[in-house]
Point group: D2
Chain length 185, copies 4
């Protein structure tokens, strides 16, 4: 069972790449957080999940939508090492912060993956501005679905006193920008 | 110049397909309206725009997001006839309501296309729940961008008394107000 | 039943586009001929068949592989007119010679389509250097399959005296050699 | 400079996967051999080269066209180990025989890669039925081009006396990085 509606537990990680210092969810309140769990030897992650995460990272400003890659190794531990991940991240030119999920002492499933109760890779977790898990999905999602959900979360009030189970959506944060692609809402 | 921020003018059409009766924007207040302007002989419409419109139509409930196809013929008028459009809609299995833009008596550009000041096909127009044009784009858009914008619009308050100050964007006219651009209903 | 192994019947057409004069199969002996039957309102032709025909046309020299588009209208006759086809060819920037299959006096299926006994659109017909139909297919084919077959046909001896019934694509007799099947010149 | 027109040197390998015993080019005379050089951390190999090799393997019978994958590690040696490759081959469900190129004692480029003078990964080498290298390419090739060349090679007489020089060949590009096209030396 997923953790939607619950406060997102803090990430438990061993290493971070692409960031000068570890990201802490508590410090990201006010932003929508897109957590993409992957394994470098997972074909669906390489062909679909990671390119989608990269597209999200490119579309949004990171102070509005923070993309985080989470390397949740639950098989082939011996070869999906930190060194291998670094080479992978370099060759695939991944730009967003990526954390290595802390391996567990009691089994193959790493700690954060367990805490979010993820069912495999790729998995996408959407955390709202108040730090609550709002969506958890294992497998593929269309870009349109993902864009739709992030768009909705962006519009939510970020008052921390908001009830975490009800979706109170009355305060649009409009901020009109135009560029060569058009004008955004 | 686009019409973003202005009240969407009513569609002026000659025929409707895929709907028992013509759609009237005024009756769609409370829904987000996605207006997709196309021509059946426009390659970018066939390969990209119409499939995207169909994907929107499939993702959302029509009482939340109403997709409307608008056949805005501005070239090859002799062959893009109603009969041809009907065969096209049948063969491409388009399911959403499609209107034929009223041809103009004074030039090749049909009436609604002029009223929205569209620059070509495919064009996408997003109209918010209060009937205001919020986004107009000629050419391609990624599914993620479109999903993001629709998601944002879905979250907006649909009260007609919506405050206009939280929407610094393109100065949408509030109901019953006038400014140098005109007067809204 | 297809006509593979038989001499290709001459095309019966009403109009040609993209060529100063009608193409005659008899004059194309020595070339591999790729005949692509399509209808402008056939989604599979627009999304797959015609782009593949265009790719063939771009990959090969026309004096080695001659691509011919054949507009075989067997439905929606009233709207797939010559004028409509011209607009279509213009907008889709099709470069190779395209013929309009001669309409039949006795039914909806045009004459050449009947002579080749095609089952629908898109259909691909490969005619070898000696004018013999070697392959007929209704529906999709991978680019690799098509490339493979054209590559094989290109390598065949083009001696006009070759037996037209022996479709033995993979083990042709070399010049001046004999084996249990016979002797080649 | 590539080795087209020369007798293909025997593969020098350390391990073979997906085959009960090592493949020897000398034993494959009479077949067209498709040698696909790749690295498991090369994005262009994963997205394009290996799927193309798999498509070749599926389209042709292996006694006519023998596909061989060659893991030519020239960077990130520490992480592209045999164990990692095995996990990769398993997860990507690669079915065709794959050899690990023998590492060199004097530099990062493995032995067979040097012998064929490959410029990076992915590289495709086509060896004809007589064991002669006929085509060497670094980077992407369309499926149609590859199908065309294999089709042509399949049609060639396999008499060993065939002239090896009349072969048109493409020039590989080399430029010291990984990009969408692949990884160059």
């Amino acid at each position: 069972m997923d953790r939607n509606g619950q406060k997102a537990p803090e990430l438990v990680t061993s290493v971070w790449l692409n960031t000068p210092e570890p990201l802490v969810l508590e410090n990201l309140l006010g932003r929508v957080v897109v957590l993409h769990a992957f394994q470098m030897l997972c074909p669906g992650c390489v062909s679909h999940g990671l390119p989608q995460a990269a597209a999200i990272n490119q579309l949004y400003r990171s102070d509005e939508v923070q993309v985080i890659g989470l390397h949740t190794v639950f098989e082939h531990h011996a070869v999906m090492t930190l060194a291998a991940l670094k080479a992978f991240v370099h060759e695939y030119r991944l730009q967003f912060p990526i954390a290595v999920d802390q391996s567990s002492e009691i089994g193959p499933i790493p700690v954060t993956m367990q805490k979010f109760n993820l069912q495999g890779t790729p998995s996408l977790v959407l955390i709202d501005k108040t730090g609550v898990i709002r969506f958890t999905h294992f497998g593929r999602l269309s870009d349109m679905e993902v864009g739709n959900m992030i768009g909705q979360l962006l519009m939510e009030d970020n008052g921390l006193q908001r009830a975490t189970d009800g979706v109170e959506m009355k305060e649009p944060l409009a901020d009109g920008q135009c560029d060569d692609k058009g004008c955004s809402l």
